[in-house]
């Protein structure tokens, strides 16, 4: 599956890939306006309120101290920051919340409704692709007195729902009410490029609501997780099918595997000529495979030019959607029925033949936004080298032609010439020994002392092996050559680390 919705035809493809990192709590702040909806507390509602009172005790407030490294200063551990969100108790003494509430965590505590004491917790599993996480208290049995919330079924459009959580604007539990506005495949703010089934509601979902339950009929019908920028009365929650996928994945052991992807590029076939050229019958519909990522397990099963007619028995329309009740959904929602390692049944038209193929599914091979990791780097004589990875490409804002080409386009155009990794001269820590370099950073290293450079280890080896008087660096798509005096560079190296407070000259 490609990185963006199929219909996003003109947006520059890198945009989705390079979408800016969201704030930890992604919903936009706005005034609480839904309180009046709940004030018609008719007598018929009294029983519901009593039932809710039991359930709401199981909604907790999580406070996370996160520390996220800065990929521009990769030697630094990053600045600690605090954020808070919501969560709720489920079967097994665990708390379910959003991944973004507990990401890059250094310390995690939670408060139980009506309990003034903070309780330390730890992360059991985290699924960044679906923005869900499982947390447990360090103190065993702490949650035993609370009623675990049951995960229900997908609510219908128009159904009434209630959210519970700890949004900004106060310290204690808050509840809002609304309806299911829309069911669609939506893009994750936390994990740019990930799309899954989501539910839109007009119930207020504000920063701090993240991870809180959305209830209907005493059951969880979703987990609140993000807002929608400038839109009015639009919040999103994660539906039960995605929650169960996450919980099943975690329960299966072997660590979290995540949602599967096809990693193929599909073309919409609205054009009748494109369908007739492919030999599709008048009643046949589907999408064309334009590119299969060389590292995808679909490689060798699906081919460029194949017409994908159906997936898992669902007939695909010419825009890649399938029928879902009275509406349609993008085909990612079909893949989400499967787990990594399984195969999906695909009906394919190839060269006039209609084939039933089993396509193996794996996690996407496209780089995802990293969490809970520290960036790799090598510093030598003030030259800071880093792998050409997603975060570094994001830092260029997608504006550097050479980097964008090597990162995104070479695999499309010249897959046989792709090198799995590349190294950037990220920046230069200024010192007289490196003051005459033609580039201060932002260039891809091609060779050092004649040796091709693909990894940070190559960088270290090329400098270490050289016994000449000079180090010579050459770059891709940049013609000038950088020369260092080896003896002077070696001598300056420790001083530069001290001057710029770089604790170690490399992190693999």
């Amino acid at each position: 599956m490609r990185h963006r919705p199929l219909h996003l035809s003109r947006a520059f493809a890198a945009a989705a890939l390079l979408a800016a990192a969201p704030p930890a709590l992604s919903a936009p702040a706005r005034g609480a306006t839904k309180a009046d909806k709940a004030d018609k507390a008719a007598t018929g509602k009294a029983a519901e309120l009593r039932a809710d009172a039991v359930l709401e005790r199981s909604v907790v407030r999580l406070t996370n101290t996160s520390q996220r490294a800065d990929w521009r200063t990769p030697w630094n551990p990053g600045r600690p920051g605090a954020g808070s969100g919501s969560g709720f108790v489920i079967e097994g003494g665990k708390i379910l919340t959003n991944a973004h509430v507990v990401s890059d965590s250094k310390n995690l505590i939670f408060h139980i409704h009506g309990d003034a004491n903070p309780h330390p917790a730890r992360i059991v599993a985290i699924g960044h692709d679906c923005d869900l996480a499982l947390v447990e208290p360090l103190e065993p049995g702490l949650l035993d007195r609370l009623q675990p919330l049951r995960i229900g079924e997908l609510p219908a459009i128009g159904a009434e729902v209630k959210t519970f959580g700890y949004p900004v604007g106060g310290r204690w539990l808050s509840s809002t009410r609304g309806v299911v506005s829309r069911i669609d495949v939506i893009s994750s703010v936390h994990s740019p490029g990930s799309t899954h089934l989501g539910i839109q509601t007009d119930a207020a979902i504000n920063p701090g609501n993240s991870g809180g339950p959305v209830l209907a009929g005493g059951e969880v019908v979703g987990v609140a997780f993000q807002g929608a920028g400038a839109l009015e009365n639009v919040g999103y929650f994660i539906p039960p099918v995605v929650v169960k996928h996450f919980l099943d994945d975690v329960a299966a052991g072997d660590g979290y595997q995540g949602f599967p992807a096809l990693d193929v590029q599909l073309a919409i076939l609205d054009a009748p000529a494109a369908r007739s050229l492919a030999g599709m019958g008048p009643d046949e519909t589907g999408v064309r495979v334009d590119f299969v990522h060389p590292a995808s397990p679909a490689k060798g099963v699906l081919q460029k030019g194949d017409i994908l007619l159906a997936l898992d028995g669902e007939v695909l329309a010419n825009d890649g959607t399938f029928a879902f009740g009275d509406q349609r959904l993008q085909l990612q929602a079909i893949l989400d029925r499967f787990h990594v390692g399984q195969s999906i049944r695909a009906r394919v038209l190839r060269g006039g033949q209609r084939l039933e193929l089993m396509v193996p599914l794996a996690r996407t091979v496209y780089p995802q936004k990293p969490f809970e990791v520290l960036p790799a780097y090598v510093v030598y004589a003030g030259l800071v080298f880093a792998p050409m990875e997603r975060e570094q490409v994001v830092n260029t804002g997608g504006k550097d032609n050479a980097i964008l080409y090597e990162y995104l386009y070479r695999q499309l155009e010249q897959p046989e010439t792709v090198v799995p990794t590349r190294v950037l001269l990220l920046r230069t820590l200024d010192h007289p020994v490196n003051s005459a370099l033609p580039y201060q950073g932002g260039v891809i290293v091609e060779t050092i002392n004649g040796a091709p450079i693909h990894t940070l280890a190559d960088v270290q080896a090329a400098f270490a092996k050289n016994s000449g008087r000079h180090h010579v660096l050459e770059f891709m798509h940049a013609e000038a050559v950088a020369v260092l005096d080896r003896a002077a560079a070696d001598a300056a190296h420790p001083q530069i680390l001290r001057d710029y407070a770089v604790p170690k000259d490399s992190r693999p």
């Binding site: 035809s9 009748p272 000529a273 494109a274 050479a402 995104l408 386009y409 005459a436 000038a480």
Partner: protein, 490 residues
């Protein structure tokens, strides 16, 4: 000198500098040029953009063919009408362009009406090159000659209006408003330069010596093009580079790229150090000591030479000095794979609502740009790679359903034929593959292949041209320039 005598001397000098000798009849040497210009709309290549008015200035000069009016080439570019007024009158005379030289940013225009020049007087060129001091800028404003003082700040080398070659200009600071439109600059009544641009209070003059030399050949039918080297270079300014290259001191430019088709290709190589050009040694930043203008970037020297000249250069190659004579080639905007400085009608072809055109610097597209990378601005044409053809937009119609949002992707093949020109597009579309036209785009993350029904194409093209107001669905490109000799890139 005593203060009193100095004051007396100053009072005598002042009138001379403010109203230098002969400035009184400047009005007979200068005219106003009212230009109506209209550029092609490269985004809608079948149409021209809205016409614009330009108010420019010209100087009467004597040429071998008689009197003419001298101005900056940028002032007359894309002109549809030229009107001249003189002597502070509003009476307009129609003029025509004789020469428009974008490489020197100079143009000659003339008025054919008999007796037009009778009450005008050609300017005298200053014999001594100007490098410092004050100048008088002059132009007609209403019924009066307006003058302003300019002070020469420094000579500098800039890209010419063609964007390819280099030229020397004098930077002049002035308080004249909205100048740089061909105004002459005088000193002591003699012409010292022609204003070719202004940014804020900094005006740029083409020096009179260059104008005079240019006038000698300007009228020629086969005017030789300015020479260029087209190299990429790296300064040799650090001790470590000097040491690494084995030079005695910081001098010369390290050559880092020699593009295909340039004068240097086959002669100079990556890794050579350019030590001298035309007998003048280069410093570590590529400047030469010019006898008149002082330290100037060496490209200026090349800009003084013409296509076909042999340019003496000295290189540092593998630890030895090497002398070469470089035969200079012209390298015009049209020579490049992505042409620059286009002014003629842009070629295009619309078929079934799909608009194809040449990739040019007037119409860059992000996706093609990043695939051409650093070579984009310096890639010469070569056999089989003369132009990049772009599917620039789709004019929506039921015929092209499915491609309505498609734009700005380069075309690789049509019906199996490689595409290198608008002519290729036209030819390939006459040979469908079975019942379809198959347009393959450069690989991109949006759409790789466009498929159209061959049967409906002609009718759709006619219908869409009519609906969207295209006077013609096609404008083929003029015959391409002959390719330069092939050479190995250094």
């Amino acid at each position: 000198m005593s203060p009193a005598r100095a004051a007396l001397a100053l009072s005598l000098l002042l009138p001379l500098t403010a109203h230098a000798r002969g400035d009184g009849d400047l009005g007979a040497q200068i005219v106003n040029l009212n230009v109506t210009a209209q550029q092609w709309d490269f985004a809608q290549p079948w149409a021209k953009a809205s016409p614009v008015k330009r108010y420019a200035y010209a100087t009467v000069v004597q040429t071998p063919a008689g009197p003419a009016l001298l101005t900056a080439a940028t002032m007359v570019q894309a002109a549809t009408v030229l009107q001249v007024t003189k002597n502070g009158s509003n009476l307009e005379s129609t003029a025509r362009v004789l020469v428009e030289d974008r490489e020197q940013n100079l143009a000659l225009v003339t008025v054919d009406a008999p007796g037009f020049y009778d009450d005008l007087r050609p300017a005298h060129f200053a014999k001594k090159p100007l490098t410092a001091g004050d100048v008088t800028l002059a132009r007609w404003r209403g019924s009066q000659v307006e003058t302003a003082v300019g002070r020469v700040a420094r000579p500098t080398v800039i890209d010419s209006a063609s964007g390819v070659t280099d030229m020397v200009t004098l930077r002049v600071s002035t308080d004249m408003a909205n100048g740089g439109a061909g105004e002459p600059a005088f000193r002591r009544g003699e012409l010292v330069g022609v204003a070719q641009g202004q940014l804020g209070s900094e005006l740029s003059l083409v020096p009179a010596g260059h104008v005079e030399a240019w006038l000698r050949t300007a009228g020629a039918d086969e005017r030789p093009w300015v020479g260029t080297l087209g190299l990429s270079e790296q300064p040799v300014t650090s001790a470590v580079l000097v040491d690494w290259l084995g030079l005695d001191k910081a001098r010369g430019l390290l050559i880092t790229g020699v593009p295909q088709g340039s004068s240097a290709c086959g002669q100079l190589r990556r890794g050579d150090v350019l030590l001298s050009v035309d007998g003048l040694p280069l410093d570590g930043e590529g400047n030469v000591e010019h006898p008149i203008y002082g330290r100037l970037y060496y490209e200026y020297l090349v800009g003084q030479r013409r296509e076909g000249d042999r340019l003496p250069v000295q290189l540092w190659r593998e630890g030895k000095a090497v002398d070469l004579q470089l035969p200079l080639r012209s390298y015009r905007g049209e020579h490049w794979l992505v042409p620059t400085d286009q002014s003629g009608p842009p070629p295009y072809l619309m078929a079934g609502g799909l608009v194809f055109r040449e990739l040019s610097d007037s119409t860059p597209t992000r996706s093609t740009e990043l695939r051409l990378l650093s070579g984009l601005q310096r890639q010469a044409q070569r056999e089989g790679r003369r132009r990049i053809i772009v599917l620039s937009q789709v004019l929506p119609d039921p015929y092209n359903l499915g491609y309505h949002g498609q734009s700005d992707e380069a075309v690789d093949k049509i019906n199996g034929q490689p595409i290198d020109s608008i002519d290729d597009v036209a030819a390939a579309l006459t040979a469908p593959v079975g019942a379809h036209h198959i347009i393959e785009l450069w690989p991109n993350p949006v759409l790789m292949t466009v498929v159209l029904e061959a049967a409906g194409l002609e009718a759709a093209t006619a219908r869409i041209a009519e609906a969207y107001g295209l006077p013609s669905p096609v404008r083929l490109a003029p015959a391409p320039l002959p390719l330069g000799p092939a050479c190995e890139a250094g």
